[in-house]
């Protein structure tokens, strides 16, 4: 069986959930091989982690030479590993960085690339499902030339544990000078909010213009549900929340089990980012708000009174 390369998404060696999802998908398509580009001292732990999700082989690339640069060296590393492994597909997490790596790799390998897959199945080769036009169409597609390079959105698969051999292969990548031309001058890790990560969360509670800038009620409600907090573009543009919280066309796409929109009217750009959520709930004063067209349950009311009362009831139920 041919190898399927999975670029492992991690933070300083701590493997993130989307990587396990990709390994699970890779198993459908062939033999999962993980590619870990990261700190050497974290490699052992990462190898153990990915083995548990079926990685038969782990290509380990020490990132000492690479971490001062953004995407170009990672694309070169993948190109060199692909040259050696002749994989039947390459899977990468559909983050901003993942998509850029995929784009550069597609040029290097002269291969077709599909981004933002929400599902990948084996149908005589990888067949992807994408949600397009603000979630109003579902498209199935295939790569027809070269090595299929596919970026997959978080939550596209449920991670399934399975034991892989985890045979480690150290790879020393020779970087071109041109890959080092764009440098990371400074890097500030995102401060952990203690809440689930937005794109991975099972429940997302978001706030918009209707919060008036005070997110405390939205946050308290989110915490009662163990949810991640998101924001509409209007809230971000008003400076109420950083851009990392933005859900929508130019922010993050979320597809949780439950999405609760508070004080968000539901412009098409916002809907593009949340329309595929399994259950949608909205609280909004304006009964004409377009968000209500999408909801499984809606409350026409002021979030400043509805949310605190609901939070209190949920906390009381939890005892």
């Amino acid at each position: 069986m041919s190898e399927v390369l999975v670029l492992i998404d991690h933070v300083d060696g701590a493997v993130r959930k989307p990587a396990y999802e990709l390994l699970t998908i890779a198993k459908r398509l062939g033999e999962p091989s993980a590619v870990f580009i990261g700190p050497a001292e974290a490699a052992d732990a990462a190898v153990e982690a990915v083995k548990k999700y079926g990685a038969e082989k782990v290509y380990v690339v020490d990132d000492t030479e690479i971490k001062g640069y953004l995407v170009a060296p990672k694309a070169e590393a993948l190109q060199q590993i692909a040259g050696q492994a002749s994989p039947s597909a390459i899977l990468i997490t559909s983050s901003a960085e993942g998509k850029e790596i995929a784009g550069r790799l597609a040029v290097k390998l002269d291969s077709g690339v599909i981004t933002d897959a929400v599902d990948v199945q084996d149908n005589g080769g990888p067949e992807t499902t994408q949600s397009v036009f603000a979630g109003s169409y579902t498209v199935r597609a295939k790569v027809t030339h070269g090595t299929p390079i596919i970026t997959v959105k978080p939550n596209a698969a449920t991670p399934e544990e399975s034991t892989g051999a985890g045979a480690v292969e150290q790879v020393s990548v020779s970087l071109s000078d041109s890959a080092k031309k764009a440098q990371v001058v400074a890097s500030q890790p995102r401060e952990s909010s203690g809440r689930p990560e937005l794109t991975e969360a099972a429940i997302v509670v978001s706030g918009g213009r209707g919060t008036g800038g005070d997110f405390s009620e939205v946050e308290d409600f989110a915490d009662a549900l163990g949810a991640a907090v998101g924001a509409s573009r209007a809230a971000v543009d008003s400076g109420w929340k950083p851009h990392a919280f933005q859900i929508g066309q130019t922010g993050k796409t979320v597809s949780p089990q439950l999405y609760v929109a508070n004080g968000i009217s539901g412009a098409i750009q916002h809907r593009a980012g949340m329309q595929t959520s399994k259950n949608i709930v909205a609280v909004n004063k304006d009964e004409e708000a377009p968000i209500f067209e999408l909801v499984d349950f809606g409350v026409v009311g002021d979030l400043h009174t509805v949310l605190p009362a609901a939070t209190e009831k949920i906390n009381a139920r939890k005892g």
Partner: protein
């Protein structure tokens, strides 16, 4: 820049599963307006603005000239429209090939400025592909652009960190919708645009073979496109004296979220 179908209109597919571009009105991709804005700001903030030329480049059908015109009205100095029937249906790889050839033909380019994504395909891979093809450093998804001479610094909000990236021109830059509101064309700008130079190039002008682009050379194939069944609207209650919160919590409990 890309000329795209209006994202707020109902979009459709044609029988060959390409986007039906005649179904809805087209316009300059909103996200590319931010790129035009930042290009104009680089000109205005540079030591010798007169020596900096902003060229608006768009690959697309005949109507796409409207996107170039909009950029000229905003303040770009010159327009280039790459139009060739064989380009229709191109994937991102072929599009980046045509763009890279056009940038090379345009001559001594210091900064290739792009939007963060198109508002139709929304893949956001073309700037990275362009950097790869032109062998230039990429400073992409910038929310803040700063420069001194040919040294550029940008702020990029990543998924797990906020980074400052640096590189020396020539380079490829892409900017997000956080980079600063795009200006509206003034009346003066609209009048001035009519006199600005505009060139139309074909694939032959770029030395790109027609066989390398278009639907037949796309290395991905759409097999099916199905309209998502519309959501059926669920129950909507109006809050009165706390009834909204009670109903909300009951709904969440019924779905086992509590």
């Amino acid at each position: 820049m890309k000329y795209v179908p209006d994202a707020t209109a109902d979009q459709k597919f044609e029988d060959d599963l390409t986007v039906d571009r005649a179904a809805v009105p087209g316009l300059l991709s909103e996200l590319d307006e931010y790129a035009v804005e930042q290009a104009l700001q680089i000109k205005e903030k540079s030591e010798n603005p007169e020596s900096v030329e902003v060229t608006a480049l768009c690959v697309g059908p005949a109507e796409a000239v409207d996107a170039v015109r909009k950029a000229l009205q905003m303040g770009a100095d010159k327009g280039i429209h790459v139009a060739d029937d064989s380009i229709a249906g191109s994937d991102a790889l072929a599009t980046s090939k045509v763009l890279a050839a056009a940038v090379k033909k345009a001559g001594d380019v210091d900064v290739v400025m792009c939007g963060m994504a198109s508002t139709d395909g929304a893949m956001s891979v073309v700037p990275a592909m362009l950097a790869e093809r032109l062998d230039l450093p990429q400073l992409t998804l910038a929310s803040v652009v700063e420069f001194q001479g040919d040294q550029f610094r940008v702020k990029r909000d990543g998924d797990t960190s906020t980074d400052v990236l640096g590189a020396t021109a020539p380079l490829v830059l892409s900017v997000t919708d956080q980079s600063g509101e795009a200006r509206y064309p003034s009346f003066k700008g609209i009048m001035a645009a009519k006199k600005k130079p505009m060139e139309t190039w074909s694939l032959g002008d770029l030395g790109v073979d027609a066989g390398e682009v278009g639907l037949s050379a796309a290395w991905t194939k759409v097999e099916a496109a199905d309209a998502r069944p519309p959501r059926t609207q669920g129950e909507i209650v109006t809050d009165e004296d706390g009834s909204g919160a009670t109903a909300l919590v009951e709904f969440l409990a019924s779905k086992k979220f509590i």
